[in-house]
């Protein structure tokens, strides 16, 4: 078992919550984990990514080698394309469809969609709509995690357990809401 995942988004979108759930589930399953994150300058609304690696063997590099990512999990469609050189030949892109336009020269959304379609196997997720349907737009991330769950190499029930653990301190209600969001994404 060996999975390389790039989680991509824009500074402030909270990609680290997704990483934290996968980390925890992997640790619970006795797997090795390495997860490189971006702190500092780029967090101010710039492009950010996390390299997440899980394996049953020792992991050396904190960075995923190019051409070896199994999954790009993107919270923003243009960001899913920025890391394409990392994606393996038959890797998958799971991306939210909602564009985050904080730059003046944001490209045509259709052209982004077309590039994603021709670049790799892909799953589009209307994460915002799904998050709203569970009553909390902030659960956007967890919806995306649910949608990507089949490609992570860890069972959905294990990821749910990790969500429950991670959000436990915030109370029953928040846990339930996030589990609901996860399942919405999974059923996408």
């Amino acid at each position: 078992m060996n999975k390389n995942i790039i989680i991509a988004g824009v500074g402030g979108q909270g990609i680290l919550t997704i990483a934290a759930v996968i980390d925890l589930a992997a640790m619970n399953n006795g797997l090795h984990v390495k997860q490189a994150e971006v702190h500092g300058m780029s967090q101010r609304g710039g492009a950010v990514e996390s390299h997440l690696r899980i394996s049953d063997a020792e992991i050396f590099s904190d960075l995923i080698p190019r051409g070896k990512a199994d999954l790009i999990l993107a919270i923003e469609p243009m960001e899913s394309l920025r890391y394409l050189p990392f994606l393996s030949k038959d890797g998958v892109i799971v991306t939210a469809t909602e564009a985050f336009k904080n730059i003046a020269n944001y490209p045509e959304e259709d052209s982004i969609r077309a590039e994603i379609e021709k670049s790799a196997r892909h799953v589009f997720v209307d994460a915002e709509a799904l998050a709203r349907s569970v009553g909390n737009p902030k659960s956007f991330n967890v919806v995306m995690l649910g949608a990507a769950a089949p490609y992570i190499g860890i069972g959905a029930e294990q990821l749910e357990k990790a969500i429950a653990q991670l959000f436990a301190a915030k109370g029953e209600e928040i846990v339930e809401m996030n589990l609901l969001a996860f399942r919405k994404g999974l059923a996408n």
């Binding site: 390495k34 490189a36 101010r44 390299h51 050396f60 904190d62 960001e79």
Partner: protein, 539 residues
């Protein structure tokens, strides 16, 4: 007690230092070192044990306080980013001559590829410069263990020990196994006056002592578990320093290569181990995360061709290493890669919506419209993003505090108006001394302190001069008629422009303090208040 935790490299350092029995951590924030001190500030155990952890005003004050704690017999940790060691360099170099009493570990976090920095200087050069032992761990567990080892080493050889990490290690998580915690040292101030009073007569003796310890340090490196050989069959071999080891091993594992690897994570170099290794092979790749310091040394002035690395282009001359760079250097063919489509636009960092720096820049730019040219000396912080469109507001950003002094020099040369823009934390870090120079010289400068009441760039730490900036400026002798306080809001635009214009025109030292809370800190405080309110309501 064994306990596995998923920690950033920075957090592994913090936890290890607490477990090694430190009595204090001293630091000024700076990416990628900030999370070390933040972890200690949040730690319940550290609080219980009375570990002091408040931020210092700059790296020099931090370093000297840590040295003072060591003088008093207790263990201390001091942390900074690479350029911070330039600020603390005087204290650092001289602490090699004094030596230590309680263990002192100096953590410096380098930023190769300059993700959040002005340069990619390699702290290992400072280690050699000061003749101090340097430890450069490769992964999170080794980092935890190395910090404990470094404190023991420091107390054994009575020297500060430098621990060098880089961005990737600091900001990457992996599982870390904790060891049993040690108690703190008792108060036991040094009575060895000759060690600490660096009059030339004492300093010469101490320096000879430092040189005399070098053989012992080399012997310790020779036996160190941090320096080890991973067997393989020749004729090609790799010497991997610090985190470069991970990338070599990644390629070795993935490609099932049988290359021998010598891993170096402790300096001075283990001479015997190194010679024995190098003699066996005809082709030795030297992989260093940073400057080719040891490649230059091993290759020598006349260029021994058996060594390859950053100098001959086998590895890139600058920037951080990667598994891909190592794969290429080891002759592994790259798989065909997908390209980034041309539609993908850059998404650079930018000021937040509602940031006061932005409204200040707009006002300042408009005032400059009435001058033939705009030169604004700026500094380091979120406001450096004023360099980018739509603001294009600043002309310089060099090193912390340089805005005020460069504006002074340019004013001395005849530039008018000579305007500096500096953040509140940068001002107390190293702007005040420059302001004193300007006051003493009666220089015609306008210094704008963009005061958001926090160290925003590094995540919103508390700022040393919070609430006192006006009094500081007054105290160093700025005429109160020319200390102006404005609130950079859109609705105050005309008023603020008038103030700026008046002070630009004033031929003397003027300070404009532009006060508006950072949006991110405001949100964080609001969350905190809601939490506290909710907790109260639940009781």
């Amino acid at each position: 007690m064994t306990n596995k935790k998923l920690l950033l490299g920075a957090e592994a350092i913090a936890l290890a230092a607490i477990d090694a029995g430190i009595s204090g951590v001293y630091a000024y924030p700076g990416t990628p070192s900030t999370e070390i001190t933040e972890y200690i500030q949040r730690s319940k155990i550290a609080k219980q044990n009375g570990v002091r952890s408040k931020w210092s005003s700059n790296e020099k004050t931090a370093y000297e306080a840590a040295l003072g704690m060591s003088y008093a017999g207790k263990r201390s940790l001091v942390c900074m980013k690479h350029v911070g060691l330039n600020v603390a360099a005087d204290a650092f170099m001289n602490s090699a001559i004094t030596g230590v009493n309680g263990g002192l570990v100096v953590v410096v976090a380098d930023d190769p590829s300059m993700h959040s920095s002005q340069n990619e200087q390699d702290t290992r050069a400072y280690g050699r410069f000061a003749y101090l032992p340097v430890i450069e761990p490769s992964n999170q567990q080794e980092t935890y263990d190395a910090v404990r080892y470094a404190f023991d080493l420091s107390e054994l050889v009575k020297l500060p020990v430098l621990l060098r990490i880089t961005t990737r290690l600091s900001h990457s998580r992996a599982a870390v196994l904790q060891q049993v915690a040690k108690a703190q040292n008792a108060l036991n101030p040094s009575t060895e006056k000759k060690n600490w009073i660096l009059l030339p007569s004492n300093a010469r003796v101490n320096y000879a002592g430092l040189l005399g310890k070098q053989q012992q340090l080399t012997d310790i490196s020779e036996a160190s578990p941090l320096n080890k050989v991973v067997e393989g069959s020749g004729p090609k071999a790799v010497i991997a320093f610090g985190i470069a080891y991970n990338y070599v091993m990644e390629v070795k594992q993935a490609e099932k290569l049988d290359i021998p690897v010598l891993k170096i994570s402790q300096y001075p170099l283990p001479e015997k181990k190194l010679k024995a290794f190098v003699e066996k092979y005809d082709d030795v790749l030297i992989a260093e995360e940073g400057y080719p310091i040891y490649e230059e040394l091993l290759k020598g002035f006349f260029g021994n061709a058996k060594f390859r690395g950053r100098l001959d282009g086998a590895l890139p001359r600058m920037g951080e290493l990667s598994p891909d760079a190592l794969a290429k250097a080891l002759g592994v063919p790259m798989p065909e890669l997908k390209a980034i489509p041309a539609v993908v636009a850059n998404r650079p960092p930018m000021l937040c919506q509602g940031c006061g720096h932005g409204d200040l820049f707009v006002a300042m730019n408009r005032v400059f419209e009435s001058y033939p040219a705009k030169h604004v000396f700026s500094d380091i912080g979120c406001y450096t993003l004023g360099a980018l469109p739509p603001y294009d507001a600043i002309s310089t950003c060099v090193d912390m505090g340089a805005s005020i002094t460069m504006a002074k020099g340019a004013s001395d040369a005849g530039l008018h108006p000579a305007v500096a823009v500096i953040g509140d934390s940068t001002f107390t870090h190293s702007g005040i001394t420059g302001l004193i120079d300007a006051v003493n010289d009666g220089t015609s400068v306008t210094i704008i302190i963009s005061d958001n009441a926090t160290v925003a760039m590094t995540g919103g730490q508390e700022s040393s001069g919070d609430g006192n900036l006006y009094d500081i400026c007054k105290g160093v002798g700025v005429d109160e008629a020319h200390i102006r306080v404005i609130e950079p809001l859109k609705k105050n635009m005309e008023k603020n422009m008038a103030v700026l214009k008046e002070e630009f025109e004033y031929r003397g030292v003027s300070v404009v303090i532009a006060q508006r809370e950072c949006v991110q800190v405001m949100l964080k405080n609001k969350k905190q208040r809601n939490k506290t309110a909710a907790a109260k309501a639940a009781v």
